[in-house]
Symmetry: C2
Subunit: 302 residues, 2 copies
């Protein structure tokens, strides 16, 4: 089934101990779409400038990715530059140039109106909600990402959008900030009171945890010998997670658990190369093989 | 089978956001023994002062814990005082009074000489090694804990002891410091070159990872709504891990995986109450029940 994502399609400059790239395709929606397209057809809603060329379009081409909701306007695309510390555990933002993204007003093509699975990437909560008003049918599932900026600046708007969200997918700091509660289980209960039935806490190198009203699931990160560029890991996780659910068409405890594994698998691949490179070259059989390795990594008998 | 542990038996003063205790039984060997005694008979090698009274002996009594290797001498027992931050993620040491522990020279009673499972708690590596010279038979397995102090101050002595160690059980910072390698998988290879075939990385609230020459196992921490006192979590983990292995008498991939689960279970219980309180009141059926919850927490189907 189709999966709609709204978010940034951007250019990134990234420096890590493994190298430096001055300009490459980035943005949450790019990582999400490339990860999710291994499972389901992804409809992208985003805005780009004149610098978004055939070279970037080619990256999405030949995949189950629909760019008809990507609006191209005069000006430059969103640009982000960042540098990772020697140990990759700290990131310094060197530049954030919103450019055409500053005036982004998501507009869904008519063909997107029936999207059953929707992922609201990390943008202004009011714009996230505007996507939901444009779909014709009540979606089967709405997932949402957000960040400290929106939690601090637009708390009332975020609360309003959360009421229409089933799955909130954020990191531990954001969970604590949003709920004012340090303990993640108690924080989850507060999130449930805001609307979502499911909280997914992304913990980077420490894995991910899903807390649902009725059950919990926790998974370590897949251990890698080389992490070249952590950018986009969380967005790739979200893409793998939502993509798997959209492909399986059933949301229950078992499919949510499996979706967490595919999310972790996609996140682990994303960081192996710079930018979206690894996600682009990825084969379905590699995904399946790594999911099996995840089983081995975590399985035990009592 | 019998499990020997050498380490500290001490008094602790602990302050956490949940309360304050001025003086209670503590020390790595205490936590280890109480955790492991749910699985196997534990032989303790330690030193205490005159202040170690019948009240403290009573805590160990009626359990599978042999204190005949606990030497009592004139003076005061090791005393440690610490305070945890509001979020429990930082710990400030307020006092470390070595007292009789400063002159600790482990002496094994003759009855300990055939101990097949040995855990060398975090003490001077030379003293750790002196325990191994006192056992009459080559042990089935030697586990070892250490810390930044010994890694920095006595690196050559530590290397010598590691040569006689099968399982090294430390945290991620110590792993990185010992090996000079940030990536934990590459760090594990360096550890293997030092002697141990197995590295267990304790990650506190983020769980634990086992890296063996031939396989990996990773487990999240058991999510708790209330952590009252994190002191002794790692030692209780080690006790549960080694205790289970000593009880099962077979060391292979499957038993090592299961031991990691029991280690995590014991660690999770330890932090629910102050000091050793929860470990003392713990029943075997509670351990079994939580191990089953761990299965639910981590299980998925592809």
């Amino acid at each position: 089934m189709s999966l709609l994502v709204v978010g940034s399609v951007a250019f990134d400059a990234v420096e890590t101990p493994f190298g430096k790239v001055d300009r490459m395709l980035g943005g949450a929606a790019s990582y999400f779409a490339l990860a999710a397209s291994h499972f389901a057809t992804v409809r992208v809603v985003a805005i780009v400038g004149e610098d978004f060329s055939n070279k970037e379009r080619a990256i999405f081409k030949g995949r189950k990715i629909d760019l008809s909701g990507v609006e191209q306007v005069a000006g430059k695309s969103f640009f982000w530059a960042g540098r990772y510390s020697q140990n990759m555990n700290e990131r310094t933002t060197l530049a954030t140039e919103l450019n055409v993204f500053a005036d982004f007003r998501p507009r869904l093509p008519a063909s997107y109106g029936d999207s059953p699975y929707i992922f609201l990437g990390n943008i202004d909560p009011t714009l996230q909600r505007s996507v939901l008003t444009q779909v014709r049918r009540k979606p089967a599932m709405v997932g949402l990402d957000t960040m400290n900026y929106w939690i601090e600046r637009t708390p009332a708007e975020l609360r309003e959008t959360l009421k229409q969200t089933q799955i909130l997918m954020i990191n531990d700091d954001e969970t604590r900030q949003l709920t004012g509660e340090h303990n993640l289980l108690r924080a989850a209960k507060r999130v449930f009171a805001m609307g979502p039935q499911t909280l997914i806490i992304k913990r980077g190198e420490h894995g991910a945890m899903l807390v649902h009203d009725k059950f919990m699931f926790s998974i370590p990160a897949f251990p890698l010998e080389e992490v070249r560029d952590p950018t986009g890991a969380g967005d790739s996780f979200a893409g793998g997670f939502m993509g798997y659910l959209a492909s399986i068409r059933r949301i229950n405890e078992q499919t949510l658990r499996t979706a967490m594994v595919y999310g972790s698998v996609l996140g682990s691949f994303a960081v192996e190369r710079f930018g979206v490179e690894r996600l682009c070259g990825l084969r379905r059989r590699e995904i399946t093989a790594r999911a099996k390795l995840f089983s081995k990594l975590t399985s035990f008998k009592l």
